[in-house]
């Protein structure tokens, strides 16, 4: 049973980090980014490319199969994914903003973009599964009858570090404060002298960075394939809505809740319907508490 909880938390970490990116685009750019899953996939494939280029495997440090080559790849992937996402924004969403396109147009464009990215990945890397390494998780006994996989613990630590850094960033730095201002009221933010374009760029960079980390972690514990992002998008949306769309920390909470319920579904032998479980929880929340667990009701003032 404990293993299911650990699996749920690890999977939840990945969903949570991805959902934070979703939450930032939702609140700053004001649309549901259906291409968010593909940003994770881009991050994972770029890490894969660096691992292949370096040609020394992912390495290991002590008990964790998470060596310097993998850490270096993640850092490079964060940078490259951010650049790719900024380029996509420049080519697509920037023009839609200039034309004051409706929110639905943004969503359709994102949906089309996700299809394009999935198939560009197939075109470049092929449709087959790929693996960052041939790492086989080895559990280490911690207590009498309790074993953990060191890499799982590391993933939880990385997620915690990311969330704490994000919190610090949003509450202390000027860019973070500006971002919260734009999220609440873009026009008022503008008349406060905030450069909304620059805030939008920062939002993409933060979302892409967390996604690159989440995508690579996901690839590390499972594998890569062009559909990987597409399979994560529904759990991420569910996490966003369950936690509360207006609250970044809601996305984190929602991510862990969805991760745990999916693990629970596997535990009771419903793994085939795993993808649907997230959706059902989301629907229940939409009926009972549409603003989500941590969300506030949208007001008119």
């Amino acid at each position: 049973m404990i293993q299911y909880v650990v699996d749920g938390l690890v999977n939840g970490s990945i969903i949570a980090l991805g959902a934070v990116g979703l939450s930032i685009t939702y609140n700053v750019l004001r649309f549901a980014n259906f291409a968010q899953g593909e940003i994770l996939a881009i991050g994972a494939y770029i890490s894969m490319a660096f691992i292949v280029l370096m040609g020394v495997g992912i390495g290991s440090i002590g008990p964790v199969s998470f060596g310097w080559p993998l850490i270096a790849s993640i850092i490079l992937s964060v940078l490259v994914t951010s650049v790719v996402v900024l380029a996509i924004d420049w080519l697509l969403f920037r023009i839609l903003r200039q034309r004051s396109a409706s929110r639905i147009t943004f969503i359709i464009a994102a949906f089309g973009l996700s299809l394009i990215v999935r198939n560009v990945i197939t075109l470049i890397a092929g449709a087959d599964q790929m693996f960052l390494s041939f790492y086989i998780p080895k559990a280490i006994p911690v207590l009498d009858n309790f074993k953990v996989v060191p890499d799982d613990v590391l993933i939880l630590i990385i997620t915690a570090v990311c969330v704490v850094s994000l919190h610090t960033f949003l509450s202390i730095t000027t860019v973070g404060k500006k971002m919260r201002a734009v999220a609440e009221n873009p026009v008022l933010a503008m008349v406060n002298g905030i450069n909304v374009k620059s805030v939008i760029r920062w939002s993409w960079i933060i979302g892409a960075s967390l996604s690159a980390i989440a995508g690579t972690l996901h690839a590390h514990v499972t594998q890569l394939d062009p559909e990987m992002g597409f399979e994560l998008i529904l759990p991420m949306f569910a996490a966003l809505i369950v936690g509360g769309v207006t609250n970044v920390y809601g996305a984190v909470l929602g991510g862990f809740l969805i991760g745990l319920t999916e693990a629970f579904a596997v535990a009771i032998d419903l793994s085939a319907y795993r993808g649907g479980i997230a959706f059902l929880i989301m629907i229940v929340v939409l009926i009972l508490r549409p603003q989500g667990i941590l969300g506030e009701k949208e007001r008119d003032d």
């Binding site: 259906f34 023009i95 396109a101 639905i104 359709i108 949906f111 973009l113 597409f230 649907g276």
Partner: protein
């Protein structure tokens, strides 16, 4: 000669399913501004409903084999897809449009999961086969039975087209457009925005279900692989290229895009070596995605832009 004729008939039959779906989407997206990302799902519900109701008994299923008349299967397909639309709509149509998009996307994935895993009804990945095709018992030539099928398709499309044209020109249709343009103003006029949106949503889902049912009874074999998200995107491309908010545009767009899609298929088979078929297929989907995005960016009103209706 007969080869070309049979190809043309086949082409237009398949095209009809897209045309009908595109007309169904037009009432939701084109006229009312609702974004349904689950077209493939509602289409699949219609297809499975008709297949189970009109199809033969299978040794390995616990439910089905009713062998009902095909027309009854189609009517039930409309009803069941419409019902699915009611369920989704009740939960999400009161909320921001993003939630409708996310929920319909989720519904489509769940429908896919059910089709894949509920083997005692859907036979899972093996699919349902030997679904009856109308008139095939009386017509021994495949070309003749296809010709009859095409006639059924055309009659259906014409009926839906005229039905929708009447609907959108009615006071009801005017309310839908006013909701799309300005929900708050429509609400201020005392219209129950939610009920209007729900009705339009359910009508669209029912039409998509009919398209799915007609597909099932034509191809005679369905499996979860037939209802992938690419279908949803294709229908959007068709409607947006043709002209959202214009029923004739929905039809023209479906024909144009389906022609391009089929032509690119033949072209790829012809020029691309078998080893690169995966890449070629990916490239073809990329092109569809790029066409969609370019249309959104540079010609959002499509080939046949919406006619300006006099507002009431």
């Amino acid at each position: 000669m007969i080869d070309i004729l049979s190809f043309v008939i086949f082409f237009f039959i398949i095209c009809s399913f897209y045309i009908i779906s595109s007309l169904g989407l037009n009432i939701q997206y084109g006229f009312t501004g609702m974004f349904n990302v689950g077209i493939a799902g509602f289409f699949a519900v219609g297809a499975y409903t008709s297949a189970i109701l009109t199809g033969p008994e299978y040794a390995d299923t616990i439910f089905g084999g009713f062998q009902l008349p095909i027309i009854l299967g189609w009517l039930c397909a409309i009803a069941v897809s419409g019902l699915a639309g009611v369920l989704v709509g009740l939960v999400t149509l009161r909320l921001r449009e993003d939630f409708l998009a996310i929920s319909t996307f989720g519904i489509a994935i769940c429908i896919q999961l059910v089709a894949l895993n509920w083997e005692s009804v859907t036979r899972g990945p093996n699919g349902l086969y030997a679904i009856p095709k109308p008139f095939s018992r009386f017509l021994d030539s495949a070309v003749m039975s296809n010709l009859f099928y095409l006639i059924i398709c055309i009659v259906t499309i014409v009926a839906i087209y005229y039905g929708l044209e009447r609907v959108v020109k009615s006071p009801w249709g005017r309310v839908l457009r006013s909701i799309r343009e300005d929900e708050v103003a429509a609400e201020a006029l005392g219209k129950n925005v939610f009920m209007y949106r729900l009705q339009a949503f359910v009508l669209g889902c029912g039409i998509m279900g009919l398209a799915g049912a007609m597909y099932a009874n034509f191809v005679r074999f369905i499996s979860p692989q037939d209802f992938l998200p690419i279908f949803t995107i294709q229908v959007y491309v068709m409607l947006i290229v043709g002209g959202k908010g214009n029923n004739l545009g929905a039809i023209v767009g479906a024909i144009v895009i389906w022609a391009l899609w089929s032509a690119s298929d033949s072209l790829i088979n012809f020029i691309v070596a078998p080893d690169y078929q995966t890449q070629a297929a990916a490239l073809r989907i990329i092109i569809v995605g790029v066409v969609l995005v370019l249309m959104l960016l540079f010609k959002p009103s499509g080939i046949l832009p919406e006619k300006k209706h006099l507002s009431s």
